[in-house]
């Protein structure tokens, strides 16, 4: 027979409290019993929520509204960022040429600009093109016709290759173009984008703060719900304690109640947000068409949806847990 290494014999049964003494069966049985306990707590807590639909729906609605507010704000920021991103983020430089420059020499100049390093694209707008665009978009077509000569200058739009990456290179290019003899005025079209960017950042920060506050609200609402539930089931808790239930055992169904509240509210919040987006969708698409149709609204992605559900479930469990730790320590079995 094979010799069993000595170290396996060394293990002594734990002294004093023998947890296993009363629990029968082998290890597998215990694992199964433990799993059964969890399954039982999972479904009985859901059953309890269903058994008192009015209270449950009220609580879940409040939670769902809070969560959808936070996630709706998040989606708003995501979409606004997308809009801002769609607006050609490269800092374009517009060069307005002097009046006396002819079309031919202007084109030569444009070619020269195109050959410069750091220039990605050059768009040449002749006087005639500018005039036609102006007629179409401004609505002053008739007024323009009255004028004898075309008052508009030739414009060369320069898109730098990676302008935002290196600010100093961009400035050098801009100064070089500005000092060219053909150029009357040189303009950078970026300031408004920078402003928009900072407004967006501010909105995002506000959204994060709002989410934290609403998350805390969810935490406390769930905590209070669990506290009431614990109060209603005080007898049960006390009896369980008297027949030797550990706090972990007593907590379990309440933790699952917290989980369900959070999870169901998360699902409801997802539907609320998606419904709102669908309502707005048509209008946004119409608006997008007016601006050239480059923007399409985004909904919550799969990852974001899962994060939303995870976060709301976690808030439920944590809210319940906080209350349970405090309350169970103060729920002493008391006869009479």
């Amino acid at each position: 027979m094979k010799q069993i290494p000595k170290k396996y014999h060394k293990r002594q049964p734990k002294p004093e409290i023998q947890r296993t003494k009363l629990a029968g069966g082998n290890f597998i049985d215990k694992i199964q019993a433990y799993r059964d306990q969890h399954a039982q707590a999972l479904f009985s807590s859901l059953g309890r929520l269903v058994a008192s639909p009015f209270t449950s729906i009220m609580t879940i609605t409040v939670l769902a509204l809070a969560i959808s507010l936070a996630s709706g704000f998040y989606l708003l920021v995501v979409n606004l960022k997308l809009v801002a991103g769609n607006m050609d983020a490269g800092d374009n430089i517009s060069l307005f040429l002097k009046d006396q420059i002819s079309d031919v020499s202007a084109r030569h100049f444009a070619d020269a600009v195109r050959r410069q390093s750091g220039v990605r694209e050059v768009k040449f707008v002749s006087r005639q093109q500018a005039l036609e665009e102006f007629k179409i978009h401004s609505g002053f077509g008739a007024a323009i016709d009255i004028l004898e000569s075309n008052p508009l200058p030739i414009v060369i739009q320069v898109a730098p290759s990676d302008a935002l990456v290196k600010k100093s290179d961009f400035e050098r290019l801009f100064n070089a173009l500005k000092q060219a003899p053909e150029v009357d005025i040189a303009q950078i079209d970026t300031q408004w984008l920078e402003r928009l960017q900072s407004i967006l950042n501010l909105t995002e920060q506000a959204g994060n703060l709002l989410s934290v506050l609403l998350g805390m609200g969810v935490l406390f609402i769930i905590g209070n719900t669990i506290r009431l539930e614990l109060h209603n089931r005080r007898d049960e808790v006390i009896i369980a304690k008297l027949v030797g239930a550990t706090n972990a055992f007593i907590q379990r169904p309440f933790l699952y109640t917290g989980f369900w509240l959070g999870f169901i509210s998360g699902v409801a919040a997802w539907f609320i947000v998606t419904a709102m987006m669908l309502i707005l969708w048509q209008s946004v698409e119409q608006l997008s068409v007016l601006y050239g149709g480059s923007f399409h609204m985004v909904f919550l992605t799969l990852t974001e949806t899962l994060s939303l559900l995870l976060a709301s479930s976690l808030l439920g469990v944590v809210g319940a847990w906080g209350v349970l730790v405090y309350q169970l320590r103060h729920t002493k079995p008391d006869k009479s």
């Binding site: 049985d29 215990k30 019993a33 059964d36 008297l242 030797g244 550990t246 055992f249 079995p333 006869k335």
Partner: protein, 218 residues
């Protein structure tokens, strides 16, 4: 099995409730705990259930000192004691089966073992076939027997009964008492708190008498 050594209990508001209590219940012994109301019976039982800690002295349950038991050990200590209450303390929204099964579920038994033991316990107290009933559908005597089945289902070495016959008529009381004697015969220690003098005198068992917090007869 259960040993009290110079146990004192003092509540700040009331003063001394128990004074210098010492006694020893051996394995398989049955004893009555009696005394007028306010003599400290309930307090003594609370100490055994570790709902309260004694101010002085030592209590040994199955060789373990309750005085120094840590908070997280208490549940496991309570599993060694079956408690029976005057008001039964049953869960009204659970069936008889679920009520009796509770200690086993808590101790982590598998469901087959639970079913087997619950049926055995109900059989012992004469309630076979009532597993699916709810406590409110049972008579007082039957409810108390459910409580007893719950107390003995995980075979604790000690049973503590607090006025178990307080709400029952004499015939039912005698029946319950015979049940306790049956447990005693299989080696279970039983401590019954009661002020039913006639019942106690009918049965020839050890009597611990409390008077103003002192043990006057043991």
């Amino acid at each position: 099995m259960l040993r009290f050594e110079n146990v004192c209990m003092r509540y700040p508001e009331v003063g001394d409730v128990l004074r210098n209590i010492s006694f020893h219940l051996k394995h398989g012994e049955i004893a009555f705990l009696t005394g007028h109301s306010g003599a400290g019976k309930s307090t003594l039982l609370k100490l055994i259930a570790v709902m309260e800690r004694c101010s002085r002295g030592h209590i040994y349950l199955d060789g373990q000192d309750l005085t120094f038991a840590k908070e997280r050990q208490i549940p496991y200590l309570r599993r060694k004691v079956g408690f029976i209450f005057q008001d039964y303390k049953l869960l009204q929204d659970r069936t008889v089966f679920d009520n009796v099964a509770l200690p086993l579920v808590i101790a982590g038994f598998g469901h087959l073992e639970i079913a087997r033991r619950v049926r055995a316990a109900l059989d012992k107290v004469g309630l076979s076939g009532k597993e699916k009933k709810y406590p409110l559908a049972l008579s007082g005597g039957e409810q108390q027997r459910v409580g007893i089945a719950r107390a003995v289902v995980n075979k604790p070495p000690l049973i503590i009964a607090d006025e178990p016959t307080g709400n029952l008529d004499p015939d039912l009381s005698a029946e319950i008492m015979r049940l306790f004697e049956k447990f005693q015969q299989v080696g279970v220690t039983v401590l019954i708190a009661s002020h039913d003098i006639s019942l106690i005198s009918q049965m020839n068992h050890r009597v611990l008498k409390l008077d103003h917090g002192q043990l006057v007869a043991a």
